[in-house]
């Protein structure tokens, strides 16, 4: 335990709040697939199988102060940092009111400055040096903020991963790098992506702390991130966390995962689903009951129905806005 006086596993309210966000992320994601398959939205890229690590990690951060640089699967992170369900559906429908990009980017390219969710792109791993930059700026300004950046394990092969970690290591920056190892880079399995046993071992080369956790175990992830957060704020530098789970869906709505992995494999991994595990844990603790769970499910369903309807009815950005915001209005000075 990081703090001897505090044990997350006994904090009923926090655990239930975590569960609600995990469940919300899962149910939103499931709705996205329905909307995609019924022809309402053109594209989905999922968080399923990674909600537990995303929410658990986010709860260990300071959501009033820290900066998050999510990748496209991080629905859980942006939910925790304040993006509303309506806003999430607005971006899925590419509507003008979408706070991420006003319908300019594909879905799940998250961004919302007021919640310190930093805009990202599609070429993977570019966000890693940005996270070092946010941490560098925070350190220069004596702002006790941490930057938290996530990426897939495939991204740990990009140059920007190594350049970003090295920079953060040299300058002892308050960054947490969390690799969400879901074992696939689209179709390429882990053993064809890396020859090393642990992605977290890559930290050694950069003089930062590396730690590997079971991404399906909320409390394990929470504690690892909590410790990394404290280290960051204490001036002890960056941490690389590898959280392992499994991508339960195809890469995206345009992918057919049965061309490269078996149904048996997916079924087997589904039986280890972190969300189910967390739910069972809450039942065992007596914090969750069938009644509470049913109420939660129906509340979430209502929230998602409302958001879907709202986003569907919302207008697209007017075509006259296509030239807006290439440059700032202020000009050179």
């Amino acid at each position: 335990m990081v703090n001897q006086n505090y044990a997350l596993e006994n904090d009923k309210d926090t655990l239930l709040a975590m569960y609600r966000e995990m469940l919300l992320a899962r149910r939103i994601d499931e709705r996205m697939w329905l909307l995609n398959r019924s022809g309402s939205i053109p594209f989905v890229v999922s968080c399923q199988g990674q909600e537990v690590m995303q929410i658990a990690a986010s709860f260990a951060l300071n959501k009033e102060r820290d900066y998050v640089l999510p990748y496209y699967r991080d629905l859980g992170v942006v939910i925790h940092f304040g993006m509303t369900t309506r806003e999430i559906f607005l971006q899925a429908y590419a509507k003008g009111e979408d706070p991420n990009s006003g319908g300019r980017q594909m879905p799940s390219h998250f961004s919302q400055k007021k919640n310190r969710i930093v805009t990202g792109s599609s070429p993977v791993t570019t966000q890693v040096p940005h996270a070092a930059g946010f941490a560098l700026a925070a350190k220069m300004e004596n702002n006790p903020a941490v930057s938290f950046v996530t990426l897939g394990e495939g991204s740990s092969n990009q140059g920007d991963f190594h350049e970003g970690l090295n920079f953060a290591g040299v300058h002892k920056l308050p960054v947490i790098f969390m690799v969400e190892n879901n074992k696939y880079a689209i179709s390429v399995p882990l053993n064809k992506q890396v020859a090393c046993e642990n992605i977290s071992d890559r930290a050694i080369g950069y003089g930062i702390k590396g730690i590997k956790v079971d991404g399906n175990e909320a409390i394990e992830v929470y504690e690892a991130v909590k410790e990394a957060h404290e280290r960051a704020l204490n001036g002890e530098g960056a941490t690389l966390i590898e959280a392992v789970s499994y991508r339960l869906t195809p890469h995206s709505s345009d992918d057919d995962d049965m061309t490269y992995r078996t149904k048996d494999e997916v079924t087997n991994e589904k039986s280890k689903d972190g969300l189910e595990r967390f739910k069972n844990f809450l039942f065992e603790k007596g914090y969750l009951t069938e009644t509470i769970n049913d109420d939660l499910e129906s509340e979430i369903k209502k929230e998602i129905n409302d958001a879907t309807e709202y986003a569907e009815d919302a207008p697209y950005a007017d075509v006259s806005t296509i030239n807006n915001y290439v440059y700032g209005e202020k000009g050179d000075h």
Binding site: D98, V118, T119, G133, A137, F167
Partner: protein
């Protein structure tokens, strides 16, 4: 007013901006104790300390990418690429990230980074220390590319770049660093980004160019004046996005246009300038637009005669102006 070289003007602009705004900081390879391999950041480490004059690991994508992150946070980073030729690993960060941040976030985030890079040949730098790289970046809306031609412009444009709310690629001709010197005001001033500058009035031939070639064109024009050929010179100053109206006005004024770049001809900045003139000035032209550029080879060779053959100089420009004047 003190006489400053081109590189001293870079140094003075950085120093003054860092004094005025504590959010301004510099990062790059060897920019700290060494003061930069060309001494652009000389003295800054001693004055501002290692927190604001940051020696980075040798990794260009991180120099750009870390700067971009800090810029989004609200700082005013000035990132140095040691040579423009080495910017290639950072292209993804500059084009996919910096240039698109405002647009892709619908004006929520912005990225006020300045990326300085010494470009250009004539310094025995061979293929990888001589290149002109502006054309690679010159079709990326969201980015601005500034290429000053004189110490005065360097100081004013670099200050404007640092204060700009969008990413600016600031390309300094390394041969100009110590070759060009002039009086530069000690007080604070800026030169507007996005505006071309008429550096010489004339009514026979218009030369449109930028960077070190402005200097060569001025030399050629002075000589030709004695022959009775009067040359109008337009310095683009900002090569992206281009100042279309000033280009149109300058081309229409004489009807004879010479475009000059040290870069390879095909796909270069002056190709776009030519297109603007073709679209807008057809009936004002008295001769075909002529382009004077480097040869169509990958980059500048090392051996002195070959390097000289590649480079633009006053003689080449003089001949091209004379040919147009006589057309």
């Amino acid at each position: 007013m003190a006489v400053l070289t081109y590189i001293q003007a870079v140094n003075q602009a950085l120093k003054e901006e860092m004094e005025q705004n504590e959010k301004v900081f510099v990062l790059g390879e060897d920019v700290g104790k060494r003061g930069g391999v060309f001494l652009a950041t000389s003295g800054l480490y001693d004055q501002f300390g290692e927190k604001r004059v940051i020696d980075t690991p040798l990794a260009e994508s991180a120099i750009a990418g870390v700067g971009i992150g800090a810029a989004m946070y609200g700082m005013r980073p000035v990132a140095e690429m040691q040579f423009a030729d080495f910017i290639m690993p950072a292209v993804n960060q500059i084009i996919s990230e910096a240039a698109r941040i405002r647009y892709r976030s619908n004006n929520d985030w912005n990225c006020p980074i300045t990326i300085r890079a010494p470009y250009g040949g004539g310094v025995h730098g061979a293929l990888y220390h001589s290149q002109s790289i502006e054309a690679i970046f010159a079709n990326q809306p969201g980015l601005k590319i500034v290429m000053p031609s004189s110490p005065y412009d360097v100081k004013g444009l670099l200050k404007a770049a640092i204060r700009d709310d969008d990413p600016v690629l600031f390309l300094e001709h390394k041969r100009a660093y110590r070759l060009l010197k002039e009086e530069v005001p000690e007080e604070d001033y800026t030169v507007p980004i996005g505006k071309a500058n008429t550096v010489r009035e004339g009514d026979d031939v218009t030369v449109i160019t930028y960077g070190l070639c402005v200097h060569f064109t001025k030399q050629a024009a002075e000589k030709l004046e004695q022959e009775g050929i009067n040359t109008e010179i337009l310095d683009l100053r900002t090569v992206y996005p281009l100042d279309q109206q000033t280009i149109i006005d300058a081309a229409s004024k004489t009807g004879k246009v010479l475009l000059v770049t040290e870069d390879n001809k095909e796909g270069s900045i002056i190709g776009e300038v030519s297109a603007i003139i073709s679209e807008h000035c057809l009936f004002d032209l008295d001769a075909p637009i002529h382009r004077l550029a480097g040869p169509e080879v990958p980059a500048m060779p090392y051996a002195p005669p070959l390097e000289k053959e590649f480079m633009i100089n006053a003689e080449k420009i003089e001949q091209a102006i004379r040919d147009l004047a006589e057309f």
